[in-house]
Symmetry: C2
Subunit: 255 residues, 2 copies
Amino acid sequence: MTKKNLILVTNDDGLDSRGIASLVDTMEFLGEVVVVAPLEPQSGMSQAITVKQPLRVRKARLNGSISYAVNGTPADCVKLAFNRLLPRKPDLLVSGINHGSNSSTSVLYSGTMGAALEGCVNGIPSIGFSLISFDPKANFDMAKKFSQKIASKVLKYGLPLHTCLNVNYPDVSEKDIKGIRICRQTMGFWQEEFDRRTDPAGHEYYWLTGEYFNREPEATDTDEWALKNNYIAIVPLRTDLTCYSTIDLMKKWDF
Amino acid sequence: MTKKNLILVTNDDGLDSRGIASLVDTMEFLGEVVVVAPLEPQSGMSQAITVKQPLRVRKARLNGSISYAVNGTPADCVKLAFNRLLPRKPDLLVSGINHGSNSSTSVLYSGTMGAALEGCVNGIPSIGFSLISFDPKANFDMAKKFSQKIASKVLKYGLPLHTCLNVNYPDVSEKDIKGIRICRQTMGFWQEEFDRRTDPAGHEYYWLTGEYFNREPEATDTDEWALKNNYIAIVPLRTDLTCYSTIDLMKKWDF
């Protein structure tokens, strides 16, 4: 008898989001699922970890799977899962399905992807999934189907050490999907605005708002291009941030 | 008359730390300094941004420089600085001097480096500085001297777009420094322990603790090796997380 796959499911929208329920639902076909997810939404938390506060864990249930809610970040959830909550190291970590895009530069701020990066730092094949829709009634059917397909492939082939996948789904139905593209991260940035307001006591405060700016809208090998053209975009990510070409450049600097 | 350099100083230990005062002190020799730093310590915050809370700004003074304290993350500080607080885009962003190491995998969790990455995403040459000492009485003299030297070089040569520098100083005096090495990020991870305790009401909670594990202690081109051998380690980082070799690998997968 072959051992059943153990799959850790997490996210950054919290245990009560529809996206994580969809992901659990579809992962239950691939193995034994354990969910360890934030108690509260953790959007924008990147790979942050909680060092100044203790963490608490509350047992729960999501679909048929054992679940834990943690009062911390997505990366905290992954660390706690690996070290305290799972019976053994999992065969796969999946994070999401996030409500909203994590393509291009958004990956740097994403709690969903922070969890996936944390997984692969620890040597576990990891995937983050995001659907480009903030609609509370968003249809996750297409994303569910392809998430199962992509996860199956990763379980079959594995991923190189310290590498994970960033999967983004355009907000279209399955019949309009043109296919899956393996892409690179688009060069771009968020042009912030900061909405300035005044509170009833007369003090100023700011809300972060902004618009995404694509530095290379014509590049057909990028995730932004793929998504705009109704492809599912998969970007393999690495946790080695070294810019090797700049090493060579700087070795010529005279220190 | 040449325009004076405008230098943004930030950190993750907060406006009251000795490290940022040291950095401001030495940067004032290179140009006009404006400080925008977190009100509270933000260690472990990675490149997190605050999306669910408004931000508030308090004007302050650090040495001779105009300073602002923000109730947010290091990345929030950088975004607010660029969009609301600085008179123009700065010529340089420096973050730190952090109390403790940000070498190897620690860069992924570092608020100090989150600020530097945020700077370079926005096209500003950016450097994060860290001294490998948590001693509240740590001596910043050597780190100050070399930070000025490294910042001068960056002002002179610039850095490629979407690239920043991660500078770590060993905790030794200047006479024991063997030199500066341009390195790559060491492959490693944090082996967490999670100290489990019980509160007075009988409920469990966990404190994150852990030990760093180096996957390649013999590799002489890494930042960990350099630091262990009394070199200053500079790792150039990029915000493009794409793992290009895995793109080629995955194109052979049959979807």
